[in-house]
């Protein structure tokens, strides 16, 4: 591992006192960054450890929002979300990801900013525009089973790996940040990530000196919720296709639909075309199929991942029909699909 200079941020002294630039990285839990540093995919010259930033380790509620501190562990957030029926989808997504050991260290902000698990990004002997801009993309014409079908470009087809972010996209979470000059801002998570375009190494709209302080999620009913993750083994694997969905049935029609896709996009995917078809419609297999087709009209496949559109279509159908059935059986239900089952 390359040597680095270590600094600490405890929330008391200003960010401006730290040498934040292109070669610095914030270190939260470290479960992704330390791994990448061992492999020399990441070679920061400065690390700013957030281990002593205790203020960022709590979840605060007000009348309208849940405010989740940047350093809240994935385990603690999962347990909290599990206790809140309207956040069930978030609990399900978190618990479907990684392992207990990793979730105990991984943080809310770190999870959002984790890097892709593209094989070629991790392998420093292979070309990768995300790791080393301008070198090419080894995923084209090679094994690309885990790669994206939405938001891709000729420069990068790497998938965003997070489950938590998929649920948070569905829940329309807001990311709150602070910059070295003291300015703060709020960014919709749906706008945080960039598609790769011709700059796949620039993944978010955050600046080098910008720190996520907390994530806010509006308190609103989300109906029956289901995070369904299709993967190669039943635990501790990244999604091939995942789906975060929640809605109510009102007079036989879909109401207040929250929906996002994982494992298929270069960023956690907000399927606004599919949502446009489904909201207010009767959730029949035909309508769901039309919704899938609308979204898939912009999908591209790359060989080994040719199966993903059909897998997404089938997953969407299964999940939405199961939620609809549950809502009909338990009108007004709020929480996990499996409640009252």
């Amino acid at each position: 591992m390359q040597p680095f200079t270590l600094h600490h941020f405890n929330g008391e002294k200003p960010l401006s006192s730290l040498p934040l630039n292109k070669t610095s990285r914030f270190l939260a839990g470290g479960t992704n960054l330390i791994d990448l540093m061992k492999l020399q995919v990441e070679t920061p010259q400065t690390l700013v450890s957030l281990a002593k930033w205790e203020k960022a380790n709590s979840i605060i509620e007000d009348d309208n929002y849940y405010h989740i501190g940047a350093m809240v562990s994935n385990s603690d957030l999962a347990k909290f979300a599990h206790s809140q029926p309207r956040l069930s989808i978030l609990a399900q997504a978190l618990l479907s990801g990684a392992t207990v050991q990793l979730r105990n260290r991984a943080t809310t902000a770190g999870n959002l900013l984790q890097r892709t698990r593209c094989y070629y990004f991790y392998d420093t002997t292979k070309a990768c525009n995300k790791r080393e801009p301008g070198t090419g993309c080894s995923a084209f014409g090679s094994m690309n089973r885990i790669h994206a079908i939405f938001g891709t470009s000729e420069h990068c087809i790497a998938t965003h790996p997070s489950d938590m972010a998929v649920a948070m996209i569905a829940l329309d979470a807001q990311v709150n940040t602070q910059r070295a000059n003291g300015n703060t801002r709020q960014i919709a998570l749906r706008d945080l990530y960039h598609e790769p375009g011709d700059t796949p190494h620039i993944e978010t709209q955050l600046d080098e000196d910008e720190l996520i302080t907390h994530v806010s999620i509006k308190k609103k009913p989300n109906g029956t919720q289901y995070y369904h993750k299709v993967r190669d083994r039943s635990s501790y694997a990244f999604a091939l296709v995942s789906l975060a969905a929640g809605f109510k049935i009102d007079d036989g029609r879909v109401k207040d639909l929250t929906l996002a896709f994982g494992g298929v996009g270069t960023k956690p995917w907000h399927p606004h075309k599919a949502i446009g078809v489904l909201e207010g419609a009767e959730p029949t297999p035909d309508v769901i199929s039309q919704a899938a087709e609308a979204e898939l009209s912009s999908a591209k496949t790359y060989g080994s991942n040719d199966f993903k559109p059909e897998l997404l279509r089938r997953t969407l159908t299964k999940v939405l029909l199961e939620i609809a059935e549950h809502q009909v059986k338990y009108p007004g239900h709020e929480g996990a699909l499996y409640d009252n089952a």
Partner: protein, 169 residues
């Protein structure tokens, strides 16, 4: 001086911030019970317990745990008596080569606490049935961060099931 508490004893943190907790245990403290398997958080052989929570020692710098209480396999037994899980692993023949065992046991010690605290798992949220089969499915999910190349999984789950049953008596 910056320290962490290891198995009840304060130890000074290493000078080089690149030192992971796992390398710190091996290279500075000569504690080799915690194993290095993949060194990338994928196998769980290096599982230790920090402030009551199981973590991968390979994916944390020692300095990040300043002031923390860390328990390794060397600190699991009490007063020379094996932990009930250690007994159960022997009784149930829950290992073959034994390389993953210290990580499995540290992980399972935390699992007992998590179940007592009613921490949810991906299985507990999706099941409504009770009984031993459901419990075993839940244990398997909770232990998915610990790989065993010998494939002793059924016996590992049996050992943990025994201890949970013992605690509930």
């Amino acid at each position: 001086m910056a320290t962490l508490n290891l198995n009840g004893k304060d130890v000074s943190l290493p000078d080089d911030p690149r030192t992971t907790l796992l390398d710190f245990l091996h290279q500075h403290l000569s504690l080799f019970g915690t194993k290095k398997g993949c060194d990338h958080g994928q196998c769980g052989a290096c599982t230790v317990i920090a402030d009551g929570k199981r973590i991968n020692a390979c994916l944390v710098f020692a300095f990040q745990l300043e002031g923390a209480e860390v328990t390794t396999i060397e600190g699991i037994s009490e007063g020379g008596n094996l932990h009930p899980l250690q007994h159960a692993f022997i009784e149930r023949d829950a290992f073959q080569c034994g390389y993953c065992t210290s990580g499995q046991i540290c992980s399972a010690v935390s699992l007992l606490r998590e179940i007592n605290n009613e921490d949810p798992s991906a299985v507990t949220y999706s099941q409504s049935r009770d009984g031993e089969a459901a419990m075993k499915e839940d244990i398997s999910e909770r232990m998915s961060g610990n790989l065993c190349r010998c494939g002793a999984y059924p016996n590992i789950v049996d050992a943990i099931t025994d201890v949970i049953a013992l605690e509930r008596q």
